[in-house]
């Protein structure tokens, strides 16, 4: 089994807010991330797929194809967007780094030809990242 990782970047705005809480509770739990005018990050996405090396091409997956899938399924939807206001999965879930990793997993899981999605890693910044391995 070979693991192959492809990186992509997107820049997005978001805020943290739970509608079931009062403004004071949101402020207490999320601090400055609760600012309703939003703030933003340069996110780095690392997608790792696992598979066997094809005897003819020598590839686990065609990287060009993987790049196109990441662009189509994730970057074109998230980049230069407001995650809370413009991306459907974050109507119901707060766009934390953890939830972004889970959402990207769901977007990609069935879309990788010939290999299995192994890990989605999302860096919100250098110092903070979340991993999702598809575990329920």
């Amino acid at each position: 089994m070979i693991y192959l990782t492809r990186k992509a970047e997107f820049s997005s705005a978001h805020y943290y807010w739970n509608d079931q809480w009062t403004a004071e509770e949101n402020q207490r739990v999320f601090g400055k991330c609760a600012n309703r005018n939003g703030h933003g990050h340069n996110y780095t996405l690392e997608v790792t797929v696992a598979g066997e090396v094809d005897g003819t091409s020598g590839f686990v997956v065609d990287l060009k194809e993987l790049k196109e899938i990441l662009d189509r399924e994730v970057v074109s939807v998230y980049d230069h967007r407001h995650l809370n206001l413009e991306v459907p999965e974050f109507k119901a879930a707060i766009p934390t780094t953890e939830n972004i990793a889970i959402a990207i997993w769901k977007r990609l899981e069935a879309k990788i030809p010939g290999a299995k999605l192994y890990r989605v890693r999302v860096y919100e910044m250098d110092e903070l990242f979340a991993d999702y391995y598809g575990e329920p």
């Binding site: 943290y16 739970n18 953890e98 889970i102 110092e127 903070l128 979340a130 575990e135 329920p136």
Partner: protein, 143 residues
Amino acid sequence: MAKAYLSRRYRFSASHRLHTEAYDEEQNREVYGKCNNPFGHGHNYMVQVTLSGPVDPMTGMVCDLGELDDFARKNLLDRFDGMNLNTLDCFRDAVSTTENLSIEVYRMFAGFKAARLERVHIEETSNNSFDYAGETIPAAGVI
């Protein structure tokens, strides 16, 4: 609730000297080389802590990041940053290698109860890094 892994990086600078009373002067010099310089030397350490747990549907988080940062400030940064590691209690009987530092930092963050500690990764320089996941053997590909 889906299980996710959260990793947070902290940085501190400290001096140390690799030296053990179990060896004589010559053996210390031979084993530790320039790291045995009696005047010490230092590094900018990068500590990466990985925690796991179910993502809380109310917060979207594995754990409260502010709480984790407070814990790290109090237990790691306030104690280690700007210090000589050899003068700290935890290195009184252990050589201040990054292996031993990883084990110490792992023990430390095992005390953070809001999520499960998975592993500690420490970069001593950009060429040397160390991982410790307790006594469990991490699954292939996880580190």
